[in-house]
């Protein structure tokens, strides 16, 4: 008799545990797809569905298929299903991305000097329609259109949803379009290729009524592209009064300055690391 009641208690607990209501979700499924989970037991229970961006609680009829709407499983990751009657039982499933549908394209920089090796980088991140990272390998095609008639392409396979490429800027300044595409989805970014540093800086001067006017030839880089307006040219004049330096931004391709003259003067110009020719005024060039 002493051992009968404890044994009975153990049997009851074991029986309840064995017949506790359970729900059996699929082990994995695709994001945004509705599905049903068979459940065991009888009567009513409380179902909890917990995912990365979702948490719901509802009453369900046990022993029937429990429906889960697609909008409850839009985010990828691990979902926990808990079914409670007198006791609770839990199971889990994974939701996978729904397939590539969106691209994020990061291109740097937006302005780049011409003929600069590996100066442009493009990173493409592949997402599904619910903005889940598409982790399975996908082929991303990077296409560069330096002009209307030319197109260069290179394919890269994504690793954990990301593909990237490095590009050398063209020799000619102007706008270049960089496109990344996966399947039917594509994104375009525009990079402005600008002239590099000035090359072969040349100046000329004329004097009139105690003033010297110094002007550059049109300032170009070594590929022949005009250096952008606003680039500073420094003019330095050395005469009997001392040394004078004036910084002048390029306007319409040239930099121009007027300086007071005190007899014989030597004039030089520089832009960035480039120095131009030297002029000797008062005694001729």
């Amino acid at each position: 008799m002493r051992t009968f009641f404890p044994s009975l208690l153990v049997w009851i607990v074991t029986t309840i545990a064995v017949f506790a209501a359970e729900v059996h979700p699929p082990s994995q499924m695709s994001a945004g797809v509705s599905f049903s989970m068979p459940s065991s037991g009888g009567g009513q229970g409380t179902l909890y569905l917990i995912g990365p961006a979702h948490l719901s609680k509802r009453q369900v009829n046990l022993g029937t298929d429990i429906e889960v709407d697609g909008d409850e499983v839009e985010r990828v990751g691990r979902y926990t299903v808990i079914l409670c009657t007198d006791q609770c039982s839990a199971s889990e499933f994974y939701v996978h991305p729904a397939g590539p549908d969106r691209l994020s394209l990061l291109v740097h920089p937006s302005r780049v000097p011409v003929s600069n090796p590996n100066a442009i980088s493009a990173v493409a991140v592949v997402w599904d329609v619910y903005h889940n990272l598409e982790l399975s390998p996908e082929t991303v095609k990077f296409t560069v259109n330096p002009d209307e008639h030319t197109s260069l392409s290179e394919a890269r396979t994504t690793n954990n949803g990301i593909a990237w490429i490095r590009l050398t800027s063209a020799a000619k300044s102007g706008v270049v379009k960089l496109q990344a595409s996966v399947g039917k989805v594509s994104e375009i970014r525009v990079v402005q290729q600008v002239a590099s540093d000035a090359c072969n800086l040349r100046i000329r001067a004329s004097s009139a009524s105690k003033k010297i006017t110094v002007e550059t030839d049109p300032v170009r880089d070594c590929s022949g592209n005009f250096v952008p307006d606003g680039t500073v040219v420094s003019f330095t004049m050395t005469d009997s009064a001392g040394k004078t330096t004036v910084d002048v931004p390029i306007k319409r391709g040239v930099a121009k300055v007027e300086m007071p003259a005190h007899g014989r003067a030597r004039i030089t110009a520089a832009s960035g690391v480039v120095t131009g020719n030297e002029l000797d005024m008062g005694g001729g060039e």
């Binding site: 994995q28 961006a53 979702h54 948490l55 609680k57 985010r75 990272l133």
Partner: protein
Amino acid sequence: MKKTIMRRVLLTLTTAVMIFAPASFVIVRADDSLPKVSLNADNLGPRSIEELTSKVITRDYAFAWQTMVEALEQNRPDLLDGYFTGTAKQDLTQRIADQKKTDVRVRYLDHGHKLDAIFYSPAGDAMQLRDHANLEVNVMDGQKVIHSEQVNLQYIVLMTPGADRWLVRDLEVAPEAKP
């Protein structure tokens, strides 16, 4: 007479503050303890990571988890503002809204994270990491724990730099072997 009473009240209050202030300081410090986060950047590319960046990533990811756990525990989406952005913030905000609606809460006990940095963009504007997290998860309906489990989860994390810190932009659990 009134002055004497006031003095005594003030003295009592001051004494009480002196006694209890250190205790409350200890409690605050205990709440502020960060989860353990280690970073392995041996296989990182194409950009190599600077020493300072690796320290900042580790620190900010730890803060992100600390604030996430607190936000879910206290149903406070405002706590996510500091270290989350983009879809990661949207997801957690939605989950907190669902928690409020159902009175069900998910409580995490964070036992640490091993981060593998796997991608650092050439321009330094995005970093992808794989996090091997060790967590204890408790699901509570009201005050009742309805489910408890110890899990090793693998997260794929996308972080981007903000003004003075790195922010978690995307946080997804990938299938992994069980503990």
